[in-house]
């Protein structure tokens, strides 16, 4: 079993490839690592020179890369399928909540230059702004900005898993968003619960990590598009299993915000209770 870990997309990435040592598998892991870097350069909102930043700045990209088009398509599809609970237009709300730079750079108090508030206050754009895709062109409604953080890692994980699967059964895990191809992979969900995944993806969304304090108030990165503020009163975290990591990410966020999800999923409540649902037992 080959293993490689590195940092990308603001999190720790783990690649597991069930192959013997050799030059080809090592090259495959190199390619996988490079693919993460390439996709981060397309999808990151924290890099000024990324394609997504250009789109958010200009409001329109005439010839977006196929990856950006695909992720935006998936995001649009995710918004439709979850009735708006997953919404990539929460960008301004996330920034207003203080998450205006990569998490490593964000101080524990979330000190930032962004105005405090939510995307629904009078100075900000409401969530749910329009965006459309026309061939390779992507256009945002005036005042709309996209945050693909809720789906981009899952997409990258799926892409890299496809790439690595040519060399053997593999698992790709980017900070909890993971995909497997071939083989069977026991994945720890809680200290007491392990799920064996044989294909597809898994993702966890919650308020137990990526949180900070701002103006004496605790905030986290999961914005409820209905209020434009970090979701309140939600479970501690939700883990969802789906056909792909991207689909699992979308479903996990929707489930965290109260959507009914028929996929296998695990709730962890605020008081630490673990609830299996969606066919898991």
């Amino acid at each position: 079993m080959l293993k490689r870990t590195f940092t990308a997309m603001g999190t720790e990435v783990e690649l597991l490839l069930d192959a013997g040592p050799g030059a080809r598998p090592e090259q495959a892991l190199d390619r996988a690592e490079a693919e993460f870097e390439r996709l981060e350069q397309v999808l990151s909102r924290f890099r000024d020179d990324s394609e997504l930043s250009a789109l958010n700045r200009e409001g329109r990209l005439e010839t977006a890369s196929p990856d950006l088009v695909r992720v935006v398509e998936l995001a649009l599809a995710g918004r439709e399928s979850t009735g708006g609970r997953f919404d990539p237009t929460v960008h301004d709300a996330v920034v207003a909540a203080g998450y205006d730079r990569s998490f490593e750079q964000l101080g524990p108090e979330g000190e930032s230059g962004a105005a405090a508030g939510a995307c629904v206050d009078s100075t900000q754009t409401a969530c749910g702004g329009g965006f459309r895709i026309d061939g390779s062109a992507i256009e945002l409604e005036a005042g709309t900005h996209l945050d693909l953080g809720g789906i981009g890692k899952g997409y990258a994980v799926d892409r890299v898993a496809d790439l690595l699967s040519q060399y053997g059964p593999c698992l790709v895990n980017a900070g909890g968003d993971l995909a497997v191809r071939g083989g069977s992979w026991p994945v720890g969900v809680t200290d007491e619960l392990t799920l064996e995944l044989t294909r597809g993806g898994m993702a966890t969304s919650g308020r137990d990590r990526r949180r900070w304090r701002r103006d004496g108030e605790e905030r986290h990165h999961l914005i409820d598009p209905a209020t434009g503020r970090p979701a309140a009163g939600a479970p501690l975290r939700v883990t969802v299993v789906a056909e792909s990591a991207a689909a699992a990410e979308v479903a996990a966020k929707a489930a965290f915000l109260g959507a009914d999800v028929a996929l296998p999923h695990v709730f962890v409540t605020a008081d630490g209770e673990t609830i299996l649902a969606g066919g898991l037992a």
Binding site: E73, L76, D134, K153, N173, E196, L197, G200, L280
Partner: protein, 125 residues
């Protein structure tokens, strides 16, 4: 007798000269050299009309060419809009399919609870 004959000849000659002169004057040979002002006016009008017709033809040709040009541009515009509409329709179908895929991925959970040590963990991403 001779004087009478001469007189007669003289009279006949005079009559002949008179008749010839009469005929010559009646023929009005000078009349053909004169131009009829009505005909001249008609000819001038005809020339003017021909020139006007040529001018009108040129204007019509120019306008027809411009019309054909605008028609081709419009047809290209219509074709482009139709192509865009078809692409948008196809894109919408793809997005619907993606949405269906996202929501229908509920079908085959290849996952089960096991009692094994985990190889990796999932956590809030």
């Amino acid at each position: 007798m001779t004087d009478t004959s001469h007189r007669l000849y003289a009279v006949v000659i005079a009559v002949v000269i008179f008749l010839v002169s009469w005929a010559a004057i009646a023929a009005q040979p000078w009349a053909s050299a004169k131009t009829d002002p009505a005909q001249t006016a008609l000819a001038q009008r005809e020339q003017r009309l021909r020139a006007d017709a040529k001018l009108v033809q040129r204007v019509v040709d120019r306008r027809l060419a411009a019309y054909h040009l605008a028609l081709r541009a419009r047809q290209a515009q219509i074709a482009s809009v139709k192509a865009q509409a078809a692409a948008a329709q196809s894109r919408a179908a793809q997005i619907s399919a993606s949405a269906a895929a996202v929501s229908s991925s509920q079908s085959s959970p290849s996952v089960r609870v096991v009692n094994l040590p985990p190889l990796t963990i999932t956590r809030t991403s």
